[in-house]
């Protein structure tokens, strides 16, 4: 008995224990080449959003009424407008860089909020079953039957537009997808021996949920969160496009496009460049999310 144990222990020690660094190397090595482009785009926008004041060549709010709607590359009184100027003579490039802040910030915070609510709801429903399950899952069904954008529109119309309100609305209306995924997965884990043992020895419910259930559903949560991040960016832009999102003078891509659409025949760059950034950001997130799903979703293996 003891010899077999020591032998197996000896065998294990022959193989180097996987360290965090080697695991990282392995993960990074398995990322296909094309994906790096999209990871770079996503990182680029993130860095741009974080350090907007360092990157923006001009102040995003400074108006220059003599330099209104100048084409990309124009130089007015020593100020270069690389991507042109808008209807008030503000630098489009600087506004895009600061606009990335609004997009990313709303998306990250609303993904976190909806993720926490959804995970909690899903775990509670799967763990306690009974009336908790009925209430949570029926609520999910009902909320999913209201078209998402309309739901967001009416809620913002009630509580008013603005940065915090948009995050709250998106967070409180979009938790349902996490709840469904977590619930489904956690429910299938409940009869597992390790969960049953933990319950048998009297482990507190919260500990079981956090230590035993959550780590096993986390892969799928990450996939949902990535794809939701793309949706949130689009929702924020859509609400801002309708005038219900982040309010001026804070720059936001959706709001820039809303203004720019009135000048399409004379100054296409006002709406064109923010639109392009929005497209690139969402495209990158979607492609990365798709890749993650292929790797992390156990149903697809």
């Amino acid at each position: 008995m003891s010899s077999s144990m020591s032998r197996s222990g000896g065998q294990e020690s022959l193989r180097p224990r996987p360290t965090l660094a080697s695991a990282m190397r392995k993960t990074v090595g398995s990322i296909p080449g094309y994906l790096w482009i999209f990871i770079a785009i996503l990182l680029g926008f993130t860095v741009m959003a974080l350090f907007a004041p360092l990157f923006a060549p001009n102040d995003p709010a400074t108006q220059n009424l003599l330099g209104r709607m100048k084409a990309p590359g124009s130089v007015i009184r020593g100020v270069t407008y690389l991507l042109g100027s808008d209807e008030l003579g503000r630098d489009v490039l600087s506004r895009i860089i600061y606009g990335a802040r609004a997009s990313m910030c709303v998306a990250v915070l609303s993904v976190c909020l909806s993720g926490v609510i959804g995970i909690l709801a899903g775990l509670l429903a799967a763990y306690y079953r009974g009336w908790v399950e009925t209430v949570v899952m029926r609520l999910v069904d009902m909320m999913l039957s209201i078209p998402a954008l309309l739901f967001a529109v009416i809620t913002v119309a009630v509580i008013g537009p603005g940065f915090i309100n948009v995050i709250l609305v998106l967070g409180l209306t979009r938790w349902t997808r996490y709840a469904r995924v977590v619930y489904g997965q956690a429910l299938s884990l409940m009869p597992q021996p390790y969960v049953r043992y933990a319950r048998f020895v009297g482990t507190p419910a919260l500990t079981i949920m956090c230590r035993h259930l959550l780590p096993n559903v986390f892969g799928q949560v990450v996939v949902v969160a990535t794809l939701e991040f793309g949706s949130m960016v689009l929702f924020e832009a859509g609400l801002s496009f309708l005038g219900l999102g982040v309010q001026p003078p804070t720059p936001s891509w959706g709001a820039m496009m809303n203004v720019g659409r009135h000048y399409l025949d004379t100054a296409w760059w006002i709406a064109g460049f923010p639109g392009l950034c929005l497209f690139l950001l969402v495209l990158s997130v979607n492609i990365i999310g798709d890749h993650l799903r292929d790797r992390l979703d156990p149903r697809l293996r």
Partner: protein, 309 residues
Amino acid sequence: MSRFILKRLWQAFLAALGALTILFFVQRLTGDPTLLLVPEGATAEDIATLRASLGFDQPLYIQYLQYIKGLGTFDLGMSYVQGVPVWDILMSRLPYTLWLTAGAMLLSIGAGLPIGVLMALKRGTILERLLQGVVFTGQSMPTFFSGILMILLFAVHLQWLPSSGSDSVTSMLMPSVALGLLTLATFARVARTAVLDELGKDYVRTARAKGVPMKRIIWRHLARNSAIPVITVAALEISHLLAGAVIVETLFAWPGLGQVAVQAIEARDFPIVQAVVLFGAVASVACNLIADLLYGLVDPRIRHTGGAQ
């Protein structure tokens, strides 16, 4: 079969009621919906009068019952700004949104399904990669960006199509394409997965071994067996299209429900906003119901066992 239909009808009724209930409470998030209805600069007296006349001073459960009763009799209230019943406004704008949605649906099914089937059949080729690019583009393109690009190209540059309005059939083209692009991508993805799933099954191999031409296998066997996921997605997508119409109609000045809702928000004409969202919720429940009933028609296995899932 009839028991199945009755059960589904009951479930759909509950889902719609639930959605309406959620919307009722959302409107009371700020505590007093009267404040949403009054024009800016109203006096405290005006507000109190309106609150009493609309019954907002009643207990919440009485308000709720009144609200459900009103909906049951198709009474959506009066437009605060225009002074006409909201129902009339809804009905006058509805055809435009339905046309737009139908156009987008036609495009996305007409192009999305063939793209998806082609991607499945030509798996691993350059063609699949190219189509995959098209699908990802459609999936990530915000409707207002594709709309703006189209306006730039076809209205401003080439001057082939009108950039806004609803005067002719040609003015429907760009809004439909902008609205349908995302749905097209979704259909292509679903069709691809559905066909790939079916391709690996025994009956397809048997048919091929018997020498049945590929074309016939696709139409006779694959199409029918892949229909279920496609129908499910179609039902879901109709509600997405209705929601997407809010943005597309604003961009193209298309006089449908979405445009009227956005204008109503700006004018603080809340009954209209509420009515449009209610319509969206009820329509999406109805579409899911129809999809469930269609399953039975398409797939005899579901008909005989008495229920999906």
